[in-house]
Symmetry: C2
Subunit: 343 residues, 2 copies
């Protein structure tokens, strides 16, 4: 080895050339070996799985009419109801409720004031009665008035121990196994996977890399105003203010994609009308685009909700999907399993 190290760049160059040839050979053969195995093991054979795989091949095969350079292979995923479950309420609201309970000792007045009173009593009907105003107050109390660092720590502490009150599982286990495989499959094919969600961007960033492999700068979401200040000790801080900055939902999703990514995606996956414009935008480019709706039709293994759901309806978007030939995935028929095996 010492001879090689001291032999100079000429020998290194020849060795590098041999290595390059060997690498190309191995990559070609390993890729085809893996392709023969199943990249989406939890997806049943069917029109949807076939369409997804076909699109990926069209985008990534040299010489294909629809070939897209790796730099432009952008896939966007909604989060709630698309990558993980969102019932009975989006999990960020469970976080907020748990935070109210955690902070209650510092707010004795909450015991007698709605909506906090209903949260402390786990009274969902009482919370619903408090309406959007009550939900807003719960979000302000738990998402604003602290630094971004403190907020992220609150989320991390919660995520490490909290369990879904009905399913009694950590929220990180309520992700969709077939979607984890899809994320991996796309990344293996040179895609960059982004989350484009109406949920809070700072909430999701705490765990999205861990549970989805999506790093913070590839998470796009809603945000409140943040202000740069010097704290009491003169140290710079970012304070979360009680003012909405951007709602990344509906028509806001293509706006957010344009602002945060700056490229039109070629694959978009959602589950509700709030994703409709994102799927429209993705399929309106000059080249091919794949739009996929995940339809919640599995009351037994997960939840069944669509056209009439109060929080996440899939109604106008479904009609558009049918009219435009977007893929509509049936969780019941297309997915062998819903959640990953328990740890």
């Amino acid at each position: 080895m010492r001879d090689f190290a001291s032999s100079g760049r000429g020998r290194l160059a020849r060795l590098a050339g041999a290595w390059a040839a060997l690498t190309i050979f191995l990559v070609l053969n390993t890729a085809s070996a893996f392709a023969q195995s199943d990249p989406l093991p939890s997806w049943n054979d069917g029109a949807n799985r076939t369409a997804i795989v076909d699109f990926v091949k069209r985008f990534t095969t040299d010489g294909s009419v629809d070939f897209v350079a790796p730099a432009d292979r952008i896939a966007v995923f909604d989060n709630d109801g698309t990558l993980w479950a969102e019932k009975p309420v989006p999990f960020e609201f469970f976080f907020a409720m748990d935070e109210i309970k955690r902070m209650a000792p510092e707010h004795p007045e909450w015991k007698a004031t709605e909506p906090y009173k209903s949260v402390l009593a786990n009274d969902m009907a009482g919370i619903e009665a408090a309406g959007m105003k009550g939900v807003g107050e719960i979000m302000v109390a738990t998402h604003t008035g602290m630094t971004t660092e403190a907020f992220s720590k609150n989320v991390a502490d919660w995520f490490a121990t909290a369990k879904h009150p009905v399913r009694q599982k950590p929220y990180g286990e309520l992700v969709y196994q077939p979607q984890l495989e899809l994320l991996t499959y796309l990344r293996d094919n040179g895609f960059r996977t982004f989350i484009v969600s109406g949920g809070g961007v700072e909430f999701m960033r705490v765990f999205a890399e861990k549970i989805y492999g999506v790093p913070p700068e590839q998470v796009i979401g809603s945000s409140g105003v943040v202000k740069y200040e010097l704290g009491a000790d003169g140290k710079p801080e970012l304070m979360k203010e009680p003012k909405v900055e951007f709602i990344d939902d509906g028509a806001g999703k293509p706006v957010g994609i344009n602002r945060f990514i700056g490229r039109r995606p070629i694959i978009a996956i959602g589950n509700s009308d709030g994703d409709r414009e994102m799927l429209e935008y993705t399929t309106a480019g000059s080249g091919a685009g794949l739009a996929v709706y995940i339809h919640h039709d599995d009351a037994e293994r997960e939840y069944a909700y669509d056209r009439t759901d109060k929080l996440a309806k899939l109604d106008k978007g479904w009609d558009e999907a049918v009219a435009k030939g977007w893929q509509v995935v049936s969780m019941k028929d297309d997915w062998k399993v819903i959640f990953p095996p328990s740890k």
Copy 2:
């Protein structure tokens, strides 16, 4: 070859193992071979070059107290005056002036109306007399009222042919050669390089990948409101509205970094007071952070401006740099060349 291809995964696996060992060996030796060569050839030896290289080693060497995992190696660069020149005015303003001239045939009234009249006459004093209001009108006329696609095409067409009116060079040649080397050096060491600029994000995204190797989603800048609409033909469009959405300057830079990246950088490079908070924020984390100011002190090869400049002063930030031990790079003393060789 056919024997290998048909021999199944066992042989592939052994071949892959041998390849892995060879790769590791080559990478180790090639890296050290390159390290013996000069990664920053246009930077003179001196305290600043040494500090930059030392910091990068501290961040990237296994076992170092300041080791940072690749995922957290974020470097942020201002653009105007840090990556390329910004005199006599930031180049986006030259774009706006050229657009006024291009659009003038459709606006005969501009011949008699300020500030358009002064722009058409190349009368910089007249433009200055029109003040911020006049500048705002020029920006609205050239940056809003069209789709994002149309705007990007206008920028691309301009960038392909426009020349700096004084230096008579394409703007893409007025980048700083030592900074191109620094971008490459950081990326070779596992950093992700972002631009964090007060300039327009949609303006910069058209050419940042080409001239700096920074892809659109790693460009953070100022933006106007964008609205998602269905155009006349029913096709989705993003319309640029005449309303400011976010100014990515001063205290806005850490806010923008938090929103768009979601991680604190460990290296930040700027040239004016507008970068002060970004450099503060970068060096206020729990670990080490490198803050660098590029000081324009080379009247002969570029421009000399600092404490009293009207557009890009370096005054309070310089004092803070000295007080806190940030690097202050002298373009005159630290840079062997300013611009890349002409093409």
